[in-house]
Symmetry: C2
Subunit: 228 residues, 2 copies
DNA sequence: TCGGGTGCTGTTGTGCACATCATAAGCGAA
DNA sequence: TTCGCTTATGATGTGCACAACAGCACCCGA
């Protein structure tokens, strides 16, 4: 039977909706501070508020949403200090991913990395539409996380990335001065990681990733200083 | 007005119930595999199923519960491999807690550690009632997590502890041979950490904690080998 | 005796109506 | 005019009835 016509279970539907909403938050379709309407979302996905609220509750426990009785459900923002703490933790965990249960990439995953490298080279920076750039980086992060077989570490890594992604993209697109440079830096990171993977050096790939997280965070802080 | 009589908001009520249920899972009041009844829990807490289900959804996203349509809601178990991965991650994070935003303990927190040390010394091992021992260790973990000001790291550390706690306690109380020894080992850990804290060496405290997690995991694996 | 179909029972999942709450507009008196 | 109260509105939170589903006992026919 065709997969598409297979009826999705309640759990699968909820999981899919959660992914969609998380994606929209991370690529700034729903920017920090934006109010989401339970009624509108329920209508969009063709369900009632009850199962939708279950999804929102999960996103709230992931610190991506925040509901206030009688007011609304809002996309969360991050204070500078929290952002700083998360980034320093992400840097440590990225290094850790090379040491804890590293797995060589399958040929399919290698192909995926090559596609990512191509996409990065081909992408034209457009200050008006952050989505393509944000989505590209997100796909890269998800691919990178497949290099580590330690599932809890992978989950935590992604969880922390989801929290910082929108803030980083936002800082990049509000000043929008360094967009082209940031894109070329990212393209080089993908190329470097790909080279390390083809050489079979997983720890090197992790170190490169770690370094780029660290450097991109420094550049973001520099933007924050000059912008403020 | 008195704090106790202050009406709890919906959010606070839910948070409180979540803590209670998580506590019951971690100290084996609800052992792995046990079925929980939404209706009974709702009645116990004097609310309807709707808000209770919100709490259960959050515990499910923390991998402590698992609901199956038409069957029931069950306390999750952990396969050996998952347990292994979580423990190795916990060991790394425990070390990290000494390096990332360490904070000297307040006098109140030091007092709390001394109380914990006293409780550990005074506790009589009883193979029939794991609760006192499990609760003591949980309180120690929560106190220890206050030595690190990096909130995301603290959250992750606690989250991972909640997942392993019940399995560790269960392995200890099913064989129940090493209970007295394990208790004395724990008492020494608390004493060692307390000594390090009184000397002002936070990194040493973290290292001691890390070592004890590692060793207690080895002892658990040894029990698993001999028991099977 | 055995196999399979069928209904029963109890569970989680969903939809809907209403309660509760926060906000802002409206309005009247000082 | 301006301050403060009232009211209207729209949001999330809750309770309840029912739908969907899985498992089990039961029963009937071969």
């Amino acid at each position: 039977m065709a997969q598409d016509s297979a009826p999705l279970s309640a759990r699968d539907r909820a999981e899919r909706i959660e992914e969609i909403l998380r994606d929209r938050i991370c690529v700034l379709d729903y920017p920090p501070g934006m109010r989401l309407s339970e009624a509108e979302l329920a209508e969009e996905f063709g369900i009632s508020r009850t199962p939708l609220r279950r999804v929102l509750a999960r996103l709230e426990s992931a610190h991506l949403l925040h509901s206030v009785h009688g007011v609304g459900t809002f996309v969360t923002d991050l204070a500078d200090e929290e952002l700083d703490q998360i980034y320093r933790l992400r840097i440590e965990l990225a290094q850790l991913a090379g040491r804890l249960d590293p797995v060589p990439p399958s040929t399919a995953l290698l192909t995926q990395f090559r596609d990512l490298a191509d996409r990065a080279m081909a992408l034209q920076p457009d200050p008006e539409t952050p989505r393509p750039f944000a989505q590209l980086i997100m796909d890269f992060i998800l691919a990178q996380s497949q290099l580590c077989a330690n599932k809890p570490l992978m989950e935590v890594t992604q969880h922390l990335y989801f929290q910082t992604a929108r803030i980083w993209v936002q800082s990049l697109f509000t000043s929008s001065l360094d967009l082209a440079e940031e894109l070329s830096v990212f393209a080089r990171e993908v190329a470097d990681v790909l080279a390390a993977l083809e050489a079979g050096d997983l720890d090197a790939a992790a170190s490169i990733h770690r370094t780029h997280i660290s450097l991109s965070y420094r550049r973001m802080r520099a933007r924050r200083e000059t912008g403020a």
